[in-house]
Symmetry: C2
Subunit: 458 residues, 2 copies
Amino acid sequence: DDSFGSISPAEFFYRNRQMAGFGNPAQALFSTVRELVENSLDACDLAGVNPVVDIRVRTVAPKTYEVSVTDNGSGVSYEHVPEAFGRVLFGSKFAMCQQRGTFGLGVTMAVLYGQITTDSPVMVETKCGEQPAKRFEILIDVQKNRPVVVSESEGEREGPGTTVTIRLRGNLARSQERILDYVRLSTIVSPHVLFSLSIDDSHIRVGPHTRELPRRSRVCRPHPRAADVELLRRMISASPGIRVREFLVSSFQQLGTRTASRLLRFANIDPNRKTAELDRDDILTLSSALRSFQGIQKPSSDCLSPVGKEPMLTAVRSLFECDIAAYAVRGPTEWNGNPLLIEAVLCVARGFRNTSGSFPILYRFANRVPLLYDASGCVLTKGLRETNWSRYGIMDLGTPVILVHVCSTRIPYRAAGKQSIDTIPEIETEVQHLYRDLGRKLGRLSGSRARAARESRR
Amino acid sequence: DDSFGSISPAEFFYRNRQMAGFGNPAQALFSTVRELVENSLDACDLAGVNPVVDIRVRTVAPKTYEVSVTDNGSGVSYEHVPEAFGRVLFGSKFAMCQQRGTFGLGVTMAVLYGQITTDSPVMVETKCGEQPAKRFEILIDVQKNRPVVVSESEGEREGPGTTVTIRLRGNLARSQERILDYVRLSTIVSPHVLFSLSIDDSHIRVGPHTRELPRRSRVCRPHPRAADVELLRRMISASPGIRVREFLVSSFQQLGTRTASRLLRFANIDPNRKTAELDRDDILTLSSALRSFQGIQKPSSDCLSPVGKEPMLTAVRSLFECDIAAYAVRGPTEWNGNPLLIEAVLCVARGFRNTSGSFPILYRFANRVPLLYDASGCVLTKGLRETNWSRYGIMDLGTPVILVHVCSTRIPYRAAGKQSIDTIPEIETEVQHLYRDLGRKLGRLSGSRARAARESRR
Ligand SMILES: Nc1ncnc2c1ncn2[C@@H]1O[C@H](COP(=O)(O)OP(=O)(O)OP(=O)(O)O)[C@@H](O)[C@H]1O
Ligand SMILES: Nc1ncnc2c1ncn2[C@@H]1O[C@H](COP(=O)(O)OP(=O)(O)OP(=O)(O)O)[C@@H](O)[C@H]1O
Ligand SMILES: [Mg+2]
Ligand SMILES: [Mg+2]
């Protein structure tokens, strides 16, 4: 009875850190690198610069490493640094637009893991806008889910950007390959980034493959398909005094006055009633109508940030030796009202070990991030296995390689480590269509190439 | 910049409900049943009664269901009912002993899902100890992660226990089979329970297979292997004024005075120093010593609750038509200091479709709960595929079926839906040993049966 109590979200993720990708030393080292790199890339998107991301992994003791990631992004403004790094479920990426970060959890998990394995605080050096550069050392009070600022001092950096340094126990021998793959594959979906990766004495540079910066994703209004009862109630309490038709038009995307009128007629709700007057049955009816009415356009793609055909093909060709390559895209559409677009490249590559599979080799990406673990349960892998690739005549061309990139304002990850996407029906459908489109496109390309080869031999 | 903020844990799991098993209507209906049933079974364990659990799923509208689960367990005391059902990360099961519940999340997710799909509050009727029966209707304020008590009134039930009723959108056609499997398989690991399951007009009763009640698991002190820096610091701040050797002996299990003295000598720490005087290097050294010193016994199994050989074999034989069956157990041992035991039955069953696999059919269980989703990434499935079953001569005996039950004070689930166990090295090792033990045992049993058959034919 006095056994009842709460735990903080930090305590939850401390106890269950394997759900966030910190369950064993090898994966924790990988997750630390990827959480820091993704924050740097999001910050560079904000800053609108040609991103330069420098990653250093240095062995400081047996199975103990210092990971340091530096970027020329927007920096973090001071009043937010302690909570950004020392509080779980705190961040700047909760709005509805495509970004790599989404939970306000990632870097704090790395800080937590470093702290529990080496008792070291995170070191953050950042310069934001006109503020002078500052340096912080931060620990996390896990039970209270709040930061402990160990020290705060002047920083040395001259331009805007951030360096984050974490010391942790890991297993470099078992995660080095994956860290290398992560950085190389990141250039497929962030082809405009210059990555520098140093692991002890080895050093590589990858990218950029393109100079052009991607268009920034914008925050969009929710789409009608997103209107479950909870969301609808929140939107109504934000606009209590207006008429329901004006409420719909001003609160949702893709709802003009005429469509809103037809929807309200379909739902049998008087368009002139005030939102505050809607009772519980009206709200249920309206929610149901918004999610089933057929006259509504698909969402706009302003809030998404796909790589696009030319940059993605260029990046794939820089990374792989491709004979032929095809690009296809599905969307923008939506899943539960979240804008969704899926793009992919299918190519025939040389230089792979002879893989006697009946499927192409699959590389998965979501919101401009490579997914390297937990492939077996991912919707992208399931779709791969359910596609009959041999009918396109591509399985005997060489090694087919498919790189799939899912873009959404919300990715339905299966766990907080963001390595695998849930089998949501709408996403499954789009993936299946996309794979078939790609199979046909590459089949035609290879067919015409074979014909051209025969022509030239005559 | 004003984009910085926090979200509550309820908001986190609202946005990411697929991580908790509520990503689509079919799985949400299943998850609602399982979360309620597991709470009922934990409550019956506390009450020390022969459990009677009544489950009703009733279609109330197209794809809309009322799920109601009734138990004769301990009940929920009133002051805690609102938060138990209307607050995420609030519960009574955070202590270190084996229980089905662990996060303080499950029923609140079902309440949340019911609320956002049907706008209905949960209905809880409960009687706890000498308190009179009470009935509550509760909604959850998702953004603030706190309950909203819609109504509170007298209840009708006469004996201790609880009924929880939730209305939600689901997809019964696609989850009915799994709900039936869940209830039947629950009798393997909770063989003392009487389950009554009604789905619209159909009704089944399953169990009990045994009358004897399981021994209750007890809360144990942490094992030295659990002493990461965070845990050690917390334990030290709970005992600041005592000498470090006494601290070790009183705070940890399996550490007597002699072993503690040897460990402190190994760590080069004076046993007479006060814990409050230990500096940061001492704490790091002590943590490392506790986790590597070789002279410490494995944990006690008091905090665990395995089914045991006879009850498990009895239950398997009641559910499956088995020709031969073998039981094996590994442990108690530990993973990251968490006490761990794994038991399993391997049998040759009749009545299965001819499965031309190279592995036995696998049924997975953790802490007396069947795991029915996400098999592909689970450590139990991985171990199955890595075992060479044919060498035991059992793959041609009929349909081999293996039922594996992992018991621990903490199960490293891969996601909050608790359907799949992470590949933690210590657990992987125990699983592999267990499968081989079982293969040999069943091989010998079948060999001796074959010999007996030949003898009787002469
Ligand atoms: N290198 C950086 N440059 C600028 N801001 C940063 C940087 N690293 C972290 N931040 C800020 O700290 C916040 C918290 O980071 P954290 O990784 O915990 O969450 P997130 O990136 O928002 O989401 P996720 O958990 O999905 O990674 C971010 O939202 C961002 O505002
Ligand atoms: N049928 C019941 N009988 C008695 N207590 C109950 C019952 N259902 C819920 N509770 C109480 O409500 C609390 C919250 O339940 P909830 O399912 O959210 O969390 P949990 O069971 O502790 O952990 P988990 O999230 O892993 O299920 C429980 O800890 C328990 O104390
Ligand atoms: Mg992040
Ligand atoms: Mg529970």
